[in-house]
Each structure stands twice: as C-alpha cells, then as structure tokens.
C-alpha cells in the first residue's frame, strides 16, 4: 500500500481468528455501513490477503473502530473486529 494521505485510512479486519488489510485505502471518514459492506464483499471474494474466502461472511455484529495516525503508526487505521465483552 502506498503512503496514505491524511484523509485516508488503512482498513484492517479480524475474521475467524485471521487478520488482514483491505488492499486499498479508504477515506478515514467513510461511514460504518460502507466499511462493513466493502469488507464483507472482500472477504466473500477472498481478496484480503491472510483471510481465506468465505462466501457466508457476515459482519453485522462486528464493530468499527477508528484510530488517528500516531507517531508510532503514521497512518489512520480503521479496524473491523468482533465484539469483545469478556475480560475476566
């Protein structure tokens, strides 16, 4: 992925215990529904390196997190992840 503009974000997803990035960046202010839609399509098509294709992939109950660039991570990050209700 080329260097990202400050209006763009890398999109990272964890699904079925596997993790990968969308091949292309998206706008950082993309809405959650769009992000879930793009990732659903990509996982179903098998176009996310590291995540095997799954025609039944469903991200309805997943959560979209957004992290602005930091010194240690010089690009914006959007992350689609499973809910994490447990700690104890």
């Amino acid at each position: 992925m080329d260097e990202l503009q400050n209006t763009e974000a890398r999109v990272n997803v964890t699904y079925g215990g596997q993790n990968g990035d969308l091949p292309d960046p998206v706008f950082f202010d993309s809405n959650d529904g769009d992000v879930k839609g793009w990732i659903t399509e990509a996982v179903r098509n098998g176009s996310i390196p590291g995540i095997p294709a799954d025609a039944g992939a469903d991200f309805t109950d997943f959560v979209v997190d957004r992290f602005a660039a930091t010194e240690g991570r010089p690009y914006n990050l959007i992350q689609l992840r499973p809910k994490t209700p447990f700690g104890e």
């Binding site: 215990g17 930091t70 240690g72 991570r73 992350q79 499973p82 809910k83 994490t84 700690g87 104890e88």
Partner: protein, 191 residues
Amino acid sequence: MSKVVTIVGVGALGSHLVQFLRSEDVAIRVIDFDRVEMKNTQSQFHGKPSVGKMKSNALQKSMNFLYGVKIDAKTNKLVGDNAEVLLQGDLIIDCVDNGEARQLIQKVVRDKGLPCLHGALAADGSFGRVIWDESFVIDSEAGAGAATCEDGEFLPFIAITSAYLARAAQLFLREERKVGFSISPTTVVSV
C-alpha cells in the same frame, strides 16, 4: 516503590496480568469479589489449591508464595458507593467481564482524570483489545449461549493478550507512553 497500579478483575486477563507485572517496581492492588471455580483453572492463573477462595486473596497468596511479591487484595464488588474509594492509583487496568462494571470504571476514571487501560476479549477467543480509555468503546455483552473464555483452548491467546496488557502498562509506567494493541491469533496491530 512509588507508583500504584490497580487492577479490577483478576480472572482470565487480570490474573495473568498480575504475574506479568511482577517485576515492575510498582505496588499492585487487585479488586475482585468472585471466587475461584474449578473451571477457572483451565484458563486463569489460579491453581487448583485456590478453588473456593476469593480470587483476589488467592492471587495475593500465590504471588507471595511463588515470587515473594506482596500485593494488596480487595474482595469488594465494585459498585457506585465504593468505586471512587477503590479506584485509586497511578494506573487503573480494567479486566472485568461485564459492561455495567466497565461503565462504572469509565465514569470514575474520567471524573478523576486517572489513566486507564482496558483489556477485552471476544467470546470465541478470536480477538483481544488492549486500549486506553480515551479510545475505548464498551461493547454490548454476548447473548445467552455465547462461547466463553472458560475453556482451556483459549489459554494461550488469553495469556498473549495479558502479556500485551502488561507491555502497554510497562510502557506507560516507565516511559509515560500510551500504546494500545489489537490482537488476533495471527497478528498484533498497534493502535
């Protein structure tokens, strides 16, 4: 020993976290009202001799016996009436397993301006979060019948997530850096 770290919840994440922090030059306080059950020994740092004992007291005894590390153990259930008194220190680490307690912790640390690190796990052991309160959003709880982290299958992943919690705490305590992590079984991403 000047800094105090308060860990709320010493089950899966919290019990391992305490032993990962054992070499830090800090005073550790743990808060948990629950007792150790046999099933907990599959995935938590608690051993079979601790079954039936309060988790906080059992961990206190284990840390002293195994490492000679003394920790402060509180057996209170965190509620509105005691949260402000119990949640003190230079760093609060939330390792609880329910949204209600997380909301209470979040309210108190924000009211008091206390640094707070949250640890959270997906029910199926597929994802873990180590995240500073500034970015933390409380997820709704899993519905009835959801998988839990009690099964020993997730022990390695729980321990990995606890280790990243400890690392985030260490970076803050030693260097005042706030670093978070998103952890999957195959990848770790700094957030």
